[in-house]
């Protein structure tokens, strides 16, 4: 069982940042909704407030980590130009996809959508965390601000979902590959 360096970086990008960010979402949405609900049965304690703020801050870091690692580590490998004379496109995922009309939309729809829409998530989440830090439970009396916070958070979730789902497909149909092989478990021959 081994993994290439580029695969490993893709795992950090997609699972370490992206998937963790998405997994954190449902709790963030539920707690934001609840803590700022008008007529909530109780005022959240300072501890609850700080816990959610810490949680949102981690999510902001994960969101920026996901888009930056995507744009500066994985994407350059994905879009690398094919050197003259090379005919095997396996190491050039973008050109592998666009070389065939049956797969080109995975790039022209999937990648082009993903690479741009994903950036809405860190911008939106940074705002969400800032506003929660600033207002906290007082959001219950700021109905419009609360609407904006939840609305932007939902859009960030959906944008990340689009990016993640297409990421999974692209990683299947045209994985980035190459770099040193990293052995996780020494090879074994037996099958079962």
């Amino acid at each position: 069982m081994e993994i290439s360096f580029r695969d490993l970086m893709t795992v950090f990008h997609g699972m370490g940042f992206g998937a963790l960010f998405m997994l954190a979402f449902s709790a963030a949405l539920a707690e934001l909704y609840r803590m700022s609900a008008p007529g909530a049965p109780s005022i959240p304690s300072a501890r609850e407030h700080n816990l959610l703020l810490f949680y949102l801050s981690i999510m902001v870091i994960l969101a920026w980590g996901a888009v930056l690692s995507g744009a500066y580590i994985v994407y350059p490998w994905y879009r690398a130009a094919v050197p003259p004379g090379v005919t095997d496109l396996a190491d050039y995922p973008k050109f592998l996809l666009t070389s065939n009309p049956k797969t080109s939309a995975w790039h022209s729809l999937g990648m082009e959508w993903k690479e741009h829409v994903a950036w809405l998530a860190p911008i939106a989440m940074t705002m969400v965390a800032y506003v929660f830090a600033k207002y906290g439970p007082a959001l219950a009396r700021q109905k419009e601000i609360r609407t904006a916070v939840i609305g932007f958070a939902v859009v960030a979730f959906v944008a990340t979902g689009v990016a993640g789902a297409f990421g999974a497909f692209l990683n299947k149909y045209a994985p980035v590959r190459g770099g040193a092989m990293i052995e996780i478990i020494a090879g074994e021959q037996e099958g079962e």
């Binding site: 744009a71 500066y72 350059p76 601000i145």
Partner: protein, 117 residues
């Protein structure tokens, strides 16, 4: 700006200005992301301009520019609105409209439609 100011601030209350500034700025940042993405896709010269970091191509300039627009907008709006209450309903409508612009313009079929492809 028409949205700014208005209601008096109660002493026990945080004014809505800082929140409004952050929200509107996020809307502006998202719209900027969509607009720059479209511009970089539509015009070869802009595509070239946006190539801040060659391996990442135009995306590097598109996102950097959008983030700068977002942060500058946030800074400016914060300075103007920090101690005030603003007309939040208007701010909200505009922010969601800008967010919608960002969502639509980053969707490739819409990009293509606008460019008549």
């Amino acid at each position: 700006m028409i949205m700014a100011n208005i209601k008096p601030i109660r002493p026990d209350e945080i004014p809505n200005g800082p929140g409004a500034a952050a929200i509107l700025a996020a809307g502006i940042g998202c719209a900027a992301m969509g607009i720059f993405a479209l511009a970089g896709d539509a015009f070869a010269s802009l595509n070239h301009f946006f190539t801040f970091y060659a391996p990442t191509g135009a995306l590097s300039g598109v996102w950097t520019s959008a983030v700068i627009v977002w942060l500058v907008a946030w800074f400016v709006l914060s300075r103007r609105w920090a101690p005030k209450n603003v007309e939040m309903t208007k701010v909200l409508s505009v922010s969601f409209a800008l967010l919608a612009v960002g969502v639509l313009l980053t969707f490739p079929p819409v990009m293509d439609l606008i460019q008549g492809r």
